[in-house]
């Protein structure tokens, strides 16, 4: 499985990009390109193997131990990101990132041998902007000399199970851009570094490979997997992270770190640790140099047994460590000195300060063959009864709010571009997209959208998103004013999910502007405010039917009974109901593991049913048909069919989960009728699984869709947020919707996941939507790809008081795109980059082979598509837009410079990014 192209990944070409920037008048952000580095990079034979920036002396015949001083700084977890930065609320956890960076830089300056890596740009950025020029200069030198190396470099270290790839790309962009702007090529992270996320997604690895990282290191994987890999020396491997992208475009060297991300036992010299320092005054009672050297040799030799080369890596640091870096460095200096001194007496161990990229370079030089892996590292279990599969669903409301905010940010970005400079400062005041961009970036953290943070921190993330949206609202209002020529006040009813909107409630005449960030398929919807409230039809029906879909219900139970695709004339029997698992409370004799924010551990593999029957009522209007099911006081559902929809919508409402029985578990939705899904039960592709948790051990993250299928039928479920799910029984799919728990699960958060409603002392009520699509397998992607994209990037509604001007058109659609993109191609990002530049990202959203029509390369001529987005209105403002800014004219607002050529080929699953330099039209 050895791949010669891997050489390109393994290269250590620190700072060789520096010339390229000067060559081109266009800013080529190579590590923002999301092209494989080899594409924009130089030929292999030009690569330098100079190790001078690594600053160490390798001993080829010895065991070389790469000590990597590092800190792991959660961008929020037990404390908010602000609290972590400043060191506030140290009563919760002692952690202050401002001090960490102060201290590390001071220590690096004291000894040129020392190295440090830093990861989370959200923190580094804050620190940097508070430094005087003299300190900034010193830090630049440290970076230029490779003494301070950035790894990963995104705004945060994102979660891999519950994030949407588009938001991850955005947060990586934010962090990497800062590093590039500040440090240039030497600030470029060469390795991805996900030491803490709780399982690892192939999709993330694919992104990292496309971003040009040389390698990827992480710390957590299934304990059985690790045991197996230790035995087979496969803790270092090659991850082929995409079936669609031609190798090596999604190939990534992947290293599993030996001790999670901690130092070996007995060698933690942080202020938060208690290990004995090196006491080297022979006059003292506690002199321990011989003991330390001996213990270190034992640890190094033991570790070397589990890896292939004469080089091993030791992560010398942990959570929020190095606040007083002197403790670490003083002892590491001594360790290196005393261990290496023994070489004169025949010791075969050589210790050195290093970094992941320097370590990677040495692995590369070893010229070995690495095993290939193509699947995920999910689910993650740290022991037999300890599956980290609960967080796939934990805090479902936050997960949804993060997803909604992502759509809002894209809308804001695009309207900021289209509205021009007055978007940021216009009739509605000063707005910006940065606030929401940063809030979204922070929310991607592996203790943010994952739901594994403390309650007050979850509240803080939500507050940041809400605040970000307030800033974006101004941009949107200003932009719409610029585009429409009308400065009429706009209302954004943020609480429409609970049908609360003062404007629409008070006024019957509302102008509804439907700003949509989705580019390839304008969605035409209409808000039937009046009908919704007054024309309710309360008759019981057993069939919902529209142009494309028919759903039938069992009149005896009120439950869904069958689903038919009227176009393809295929019908399946489909039952659906709600269940709940009773959570382990940690008092079992088998294991003391309780369910918690991270861990899912039902105390029985059989869930309890909420109710065998549902009380139903139905509503029919020309636009939609609804069947409303009530399963009990805390579970209800509306099954809805829009007249023009090809998918069946199931809007569930769960909560407040009642107190007794005391230990609650997920409510879940179960569908039955079709056969297998992609994850084989009780099976792992790369090792013989010993299954110890028949439910939790079969849960996987559902990021935006899941399906079960057989030869004839594929039932795809598109979710509106990240959730956990499984197919415990053949033909069934269960999706965990909500969680309420009364115990902590001992993974650090220190709180039971027991979310409360804001107003009442009751458990949180959560509402969400599943969209069901029934198709033949060959056509499934054609349906679910756009369906999921629409669900991720839902329209933003804004309202102005008063009816449409007399004589105006009822429906006006303005699109920022000159012409529709091919359905396979999605404008992933359009946002302002600099004053005279734009960031554009195009993605091919189909996998290879999943669609006859779409799983093919597409050529996009950017000259044609540079009218990138659209604004749809069904109300008269559109008229004015047409008058003032005919859509054809948008493109002429800018002088467009493309990199190289103006046509781009996109192959399945490819993402390509461009910076467009633009100039106002004269």
């Amino acid at each position: 499985s050895r791949d010669p192209a891997r050489h390109k990944h393994m290269s250590h070409d620190r700072c060789l990009y520096s010339n390229m920037v000067a060559l081109s008048p266009v800013l080529v952000l190579t590590y923002l390109s999301y092209f494989h580095s080899a594409v924009l990079s130089f030929p292999l034979d030009q690569q330098s193997h100079d190790t001078s920036s690594c600053g160490y002396k390798v001993m080829p015949n010895m065991l070389n131990v790469h000590l990597v001083p590092h800190t792991h700084d959660d961008v929020g977890w037990l404390k908010t990101v602000d609290q972590y930065f400043y060191g506030g609320r140290n009563d919760i956890q002692h952690a202050g990132v401002q001090y960490i960076l102060d201290s590390v830089v001071g220590q690096l300056l004291q000894n040129p041998e020392r190295r440090f890596i830093y990861v989370e740009t959200a923190f580094f950025y804050r620190w940097w902007k508070n430094q005087p020029p003299s300190m900034q200069k010193a830090v630049r030198q440290l970076v230029d000399q490779g003494r301070l190396e950035f790894v990963n470099g995104g705004w945060c270290m994102s979660d891999e199970a519950t994030t949407h790839y588009s938001a991850v790309i955005d947060q990586m962009t934010l962090g990497l851009r800062f590093l590039n702007d500040t440090f240039g090529p030497c600030g470029r992270p060469r390795v991805a570094w996900h030491i803490d996320p709780f399982g690892h997604a192939r999709e993330h690895a694919s992104m990292f490979a496309q971003m040009g990282y040389d390698g990827f290191f992480f710390g957590r994987l299934d304990y059985q997997d690790r045991t197996n890999r230790i035995r087979t020396l496969e803790q270092e491997l090659l991850w082929r992270a995409s079936e669609s992208l031609e190798p090596p475009y999604a190939d990534l060297f992947t290293g599993i770190l030996p001790n999670g991300y901690n130092p070996p036992k007995g060698f933690c010299w942080d202020q938060s640790c208690d290990d004995a320092p090196i006491m080297d005054d022979p006059d003292l009672e506690d002199y321990n140099v011989d003991d330390v050297v001996q213990r270190f040799a034992a640890a190094a030799n033991s570790q070397a047994m589990a890896y292939k080369t004469k080089h091993i890596i030791m992560t010398m640091g942990s959570d929020f460590q190095y606040e007083n870096a002197n403790l670490w460095y003083k002892n590491l200096d001594k360790l290196i000195r005393y261990v290496n001194t023994r070489q004169a007496n025949g010791s075969q161990i050589n210790v050195l300060y290093s970094t992941p990229s320097c370590y990677l370079q040495e692995l590369h030089r070893a010229n070995l063959t690495w095993t290939l892996k193509t699947d995920d590292f999910f689910p993650y279990a740290d022991d037999a009864h300890n599956f980290w599969t609960g967080y796939f669903t934990s805090r479902p409301a936050l997960k949804r709010y993060e997803r909604v905010s992502n759509g809002r940010l894209q809308t804001c970005n695009q309207l900021e571009v289209l509205g021009g400079p007055s978007s940021r400062k216009g009739p509605f005041g000063a707005g910006d997209s940065e606030t929401l961009r940063e809030a979204m970036a922070v929310a991607q953290h592996h203790d943010a959208v994952s739901g594994t943070e403390k309650q007050h921190v979850a509240n803080d993330y939500a507050r940041r998103l809400a605040n970000g949206w307030q800033h974006c609202q101004v941009v949107v209002s200003n932009s719409l004013a610029a585009l429409s020529g009308s400065s009429a006040g706009r209302i954004y009813c943020d609480n429409l999910n609970v049908s609360a909107c003062p404007l629409t409630e008070a006024s019957k005449k509302v102008t509804d502007i439907h700003a949509h960030s989705c580019t390839h398929a304008p969605v035409k919807t209409k808000i039937w405010i009046e009908e919704y409230f007054f024309n309710r039809v309360c008759v019981c029906v057993c069939v919902c039917v529209c142009q494309f879909v028919r759903a039938t219900f069992d009149p005896a139970t009120g439950l869904l009974d069958s689903l038919t695709n009227l176009e393809t004339q295929q019908t399946i029997r489909l039952t659906q109901n709600f269940y709940w698992y009773n959570a382990s409370d940690g008092k079992s004799s088998i294991s003391d593991q309780a369910s918690g924010a991270y861990i899912f551990r039902p105390n029985s593999s059989s869930p309890f049913i909420i109710s065998c029957t549902a009380e139903t009522e139905s509503i029919q209007t020309p636009e939609l048909q609804e069947v409303r099911q009530q399963f009990g006081p805390w579970v209800s559902q509306v099954i809805r069919l829009h007249s023009n929809s090809k998918a069946l919508e199931m809007e569930w409402t769960v909560g407040p989960v009642p107190d007794p029985p005391r230990y609650h578990s997920p409510a879940l939705s179960r569908l039955a009728g079709v056969t297998s899904w992609s994850h084989r039960k009780d099976f792992r592709p790369t090792w013989d699984l010993r299954q110890t948790e028949p439910v939790a051990g079969n849960y996987y993250p559902i990021n935006s869709r899941a399906y079960i299928k057989d030869d004839k039928d594929q039932l795809t479920v598109v979710t509106d947020r990240s959730q956990g799910g499984s197919s415990i029984h053949d033909g069934s799919l269960e999706i965990m919707l909500h969680r309420r728990l009364l115990h902590d699960d001992w993974r650090g958060v220190g709180e039971p996941l027991n979310e409360m409603s804001g107003v009442f002392p009751l458990g949180l009520v959560v509402r969400g939507r599943l969209l069901l699509s029934l198709t033949p397998p060959a056509l499934a992607a054609d349906a679910h790809r756009p369906l999921a994209q629409e669900n991720v990037l839902q329209p933003l509604l804004s309202f102005t008081e008063g009816g449409p001007p007399p004589g105006s058109l009822l429906e006006v659609c303005f699109s920022g795109l000159q012409a529709a993109l091919p359905p396979a191609v999605h404008l992933l990002t359009l946002s302002q980059w600099g004053q005279d530049s734009l960031l554009i990202r195009l993605e091919h959203q189909f996998q290879t082979k999943e669609s006859k029509e779409h799983s093919v390369p597409f050529t996009v001529n950017l000259q044609v598509y540079t009218q990138y987005t659209h604004i749809c209105t069904w109300e008269p403002l559109g008229t004015h837009i047409h008058t003032l800014f005919p859509s054809q004219s948008i493109i002429n607002l800018f002088m467009v410079y493309l990199i190289g050529k103006d046509s781009v080929i996109l192959t399945p699953m490819q993402i390509r990014t461009f910076i467009l330099r633009v100039a106002p039209r004269r």
Copy 2:
């Protein structure tokens, strides 16, 4: 009570001594002189009031807040001194002094405004010797510029209740000498700084005054006393610390710090604290500058209400703080900036980095009158039922071992001088006195000899003393070999207290060399080894009588009945017995305070008697008479009268204190028959006491003696170690001998004081001696002063195998003194200072008015007394000494240079110190 001479104390004459050193060919260690600074100092009008080294800008009409960054580094407590230095055993307590000094120096170098004070030279010395020259140079600059200021400057911050003044002087010498040698005049501490000791002794203040300190600051005093002083604005005062020394020789400005030694509540920015940092990014949710400034102003104004001047001091630091000094300084920088910025808006608060000496200088400039105080600050209570009077006796065995070691050190010092260079390297190998000197210095710490450390730390102190003695044994052996010309092996039977000595047990013929460090009164004793074991006389007697003393016993009870001084023909009835207090276990409704290492709190004011009668047997030899009393399985006593003694010896043995009843308390010795002692019951000289603990609240430290007296009789008890005692009932004196406790008392040590025997899992057995002297009050001092001195500096015995050479004299006494000093004058110290210099300290050991004969000034001609010490042998080696080194010749070994003149006047209680430069005789 204002004393003009106080001006001299208040001066801030930083580094003005620098010229003096150059003027004199003799090293004048002014701050080692133990002369009042005014004596060697310059006239008042030459004093500089330049504040440049204080580096701040005082605002005369504002409230000036002196922030004093500091760390309090116990020289052993929960961890050993080694562990504290390195940061080992951080599982017990996070503390690493090496890092503190690293960090503070780094931070001081970053901002010239910053200040720091350092106290414990035991730690600073270790750190210093590990620094490279570049760092030493940087630190010297900091010291020269007053940015790093030493305060106190002894090896440790000594305890004030349980230390002997001679050992305190030694430990201060050790620390101050290092500072002087290293930093010169700018390293001289100007203030004494006893922020933590648990009560304060007038004697300590007197020493500090004589050492030339400008002022004294401490943190702990009785809570009622503090309340009173806050009300009367008397937290700053003038302590007249001696009745004997003419003012202002023992006058010392004394400041009581406002918050113990901690920062005001809410302003602790150490890594060990949780107070909110200053969060000054207005973009952040947690921005708190306004809140911090407002809270600080409130704290400063509130503090200012309790002090007299426009200057207040705030101690910004605490135990082992500043390990990561950046946290402190970064926030203090901001605090100063933000608080002072408000002056533009009318704020009347001026904050500045300062030091105690700079603060003291401002107090001096205020030109106020301070209240005079003449008594102790004992006992210390931090609340109504929380008297810190238990530690007066805690760990009685350690207290004794420390006292024994003091004598050994003096012997070692003196023999090192007398034996010349071959003492350090001679026939018995290489020895030194430094090891024991440092061990003794460390043992003076307020959690060392005080008995308030953890058990493993107490073991470490003892181990250090034992190790120090091993080094000194070599010096002593070498010196005796040089003086006697015989290199016969010498045995020091260190376990003679339990009659264990392999040599004397195995051999009947032993040569006994009695090396005595006491200079004015050679004691002639004889070890009756054979008689002791074989000639025991077991008849019951009711009277012990010798030439000077008669003691009678009640034949019915076996208890002491009367004591007679045969010289003065005075007799008192004297009863004595043993009692125990039941300790509070913290479960009382009045207070949850348990007895512990610090706190004495009996659960009843009535102690329990061990036994009303004693089983007795008696022994009589020509040399001594003994009555042996057994009071029960764990309490016995030998009352002993030596034939030539004027004091009655009571050798008590207590332990193992049995388990049930579970909560044990001190055993105690109670004497009755005479009336009052110096401490009036339930009374404090400076405020109206509300007594809440009738026993513990009347306990005082007994350092070396206590007495009760009336017009006719004075009964003085000389102790062999520091103990606590009281006179609860008129005419009685009780002395706490031993303590065993099963609860911690919540003052930090975290262990019950439950000492175990080394071999058996039983409570520790402790043995000790009380010497009783009955005299008329007017003659008491004449008896107890030499008695106590002999008890402090007991003879050191060494043995060589084999009998005396045939024909040798049975008793040979060699004295290093050419002639006896006057009885009032004691050679406190004679030790090697440099290669060609000696340290000599003379003290007048009588108080004014206590002796007709001795309480008068004496003139000592050093030329006459420079043969300083004596060595007594009763065995033939002395012959050889006479032959080789006739005592008259000792003086001729050296050329003696005296400072100024060769005669010194010593007034009562005065201590004078000289450095003698000596040269080997040609």
